[in-house]
Symmetry: C2
Subunit: 283 residues, 2 copies
């Protein structure tokens, strides 16, 4: 049975795969603004990452929010048996069964908006760097990119679609490869702001000016994307809002003793700053 | 009395003044790597920030880590009465009474090392941007800056010492002011990496090249400082380590039913990257 602290505030768990990114702090801010007490943990800190659900069950928690991961069938059995409801933020790979509550953002629409912005500026050689191939959010963004190109009557060049991890190094390495193409892109849509920072660094080291010679769009709108030089054009995910809504859904599931949840997708929004401009005139 | 969860792991609170910075996530990573379950909260989320200690007491927590704030006499009375030991990370203003446990970094030595690095490169007009005047860590860094200049036989020019908040805007605004001086600095030592990013942006908007025309040193070594273009020279604070050690101290105080703690200062370290270089030749 869920154990309530003596002051009556429910105690919920916020479980990250790893606390390794400014992305985490945005979600955290949203979850802690709820009326629950929030225990934060990282699967990366556990000797066996598969045991997090067992840990929650034995500690008698009221509910859990799991970020950028998935629920294995074993996790579901353990949490169900312990009557611990669960909400997933940004599920990693396959969509969970329909009764699992999830909160995400409109990744496909974000990819579409980013690519349309670059098309409207006059770019035709637009590359995209996605996250790991298997991740759902990444696939949706790349599909949005394809849809924008195709609806503009442009062919999708497979050489311009790359995958890396969502961190700085993923953006840096894929950008260096793209720059080596015989017909390199004039614009790069990166799968995350961190990747975009890697693209910025690759451009600096190869003496490409931003945005005059290379336009860059990120994804997330981390606070630091405003601080880049130049400030980054990016697709905003309302990360704190996603955290807040996940907490509210979970608290309502706890209160109603209901383990089935809704699916919520919050809108993404293109934020135009200074890292995008028309492509250089062809020499 | 402290209440133990059913699996025997102590439940401790990590209290931030606000969860508004990548700084927070570094401390969090250290604290969650301990063997406690960690409840994270922000004073900014509470209707009355003065009530956080009362909330802890009524929830029956085992102990608390408080970041970049201070313990008011009222907080101390409340926590003592509820037998909740407490560790401060980076106390904000006055040093608390000697029996209060604190974990910090060697801010003075960091200020000294940053300034000596710039002196060794040949800079003579070196500005410093501190945090809010009252903050202890900021005062110690500026005193380290003074000591480096004075031991090099240079006079300290009060016009080159500025104060701002620790965020991007603080660095940006003070840098714009420094650029307006009739004899502007060739190097700026910023009080935080976030401030340094603001200085970078001010330099970009006024067309100063980094590091050729302006050298910049930050403080913290946030992961993103490596991602700046150019990568930021900075003074590393071992934030995750500070979090981990604060958690270990707290757990030992809980176990030994001891409310008096030690003071620990972890070493800072200058990390030289690409934002510092010799000053431009005088024309």
């Amino acid at each position: 049975m869920a154990r309530q602290p003596s002051d009556g505030r429910p105690l919920i768990d916020l479980v990250f795969t790893a606390i390794d990114s400014p992305f985490s702090v945005e979600i955290l801010r949203g979850v802690t603004s709820s009326s629950a007490d929030v225990v934060v943990s990282s699967m990366a800190d556990q000797s066996d990452p598969r045991t997090w659900s067992g840990g929650l069950a034995s500690a008698g928690r009221s509910g859990a929010i799991v970020v950028a991961s998935e629920l294995t069938p074993m996790d579901r059995r353990i949490l169900d048996k312990a009557h611990i409801p669960c909400v997933l933020i940004d599920p990693a790979a396959e969509l969970p069964e329909p009764e699992v509550a999830t909160v995400g953002a409109t990744n496909w629409a974000g990819g579409l908006a980013a690519t349309r912005h670059l098309l409207a500026l006059g770019h035709r050689r637009i590359a995209v760097i996605g996250g790991p191939v298997a991740m759902l959010c990444s696939r949706a963004r790349i599909d949005g990119y394809r849809a924008a190109l195709e609806s503009a009557g442009l062919e999708v060049d497979p050489a311009l679609i790359r995958h890396g991890n969502f961190h700085h190094i993923g953006g840096y390495e894929r950008a260096r490869e793209l720059f080596e193409l015989s017909d390199p892109p004039t614009a790069i849509f990166a799968g995350s702001d961190e990747q975009a920072f890697g693209v910025v660094e690759a451009a600096r080291l190869t003496r490409r000016r931003i945005p005059e010679e290379l336009s860059i769009v990120g994804f997330d709108d981390l606070p630091m994307s405003r601080w880049m030089s130049p400030p980054l054009t990016t697709v905003r995910q309302p990360l704190a809002e996603m955290g807040r809504i996940a907490a509210e859904m979970l608290l309502s599931m706890i209160e109603q003793r209901e383990h089935r949840g809704r699916r919520v997708e919050l809108a993404t929004e293109l934020i135009v700053r200074s890292s995008t401009a028309p492509p250089p005139a062809r020499s």
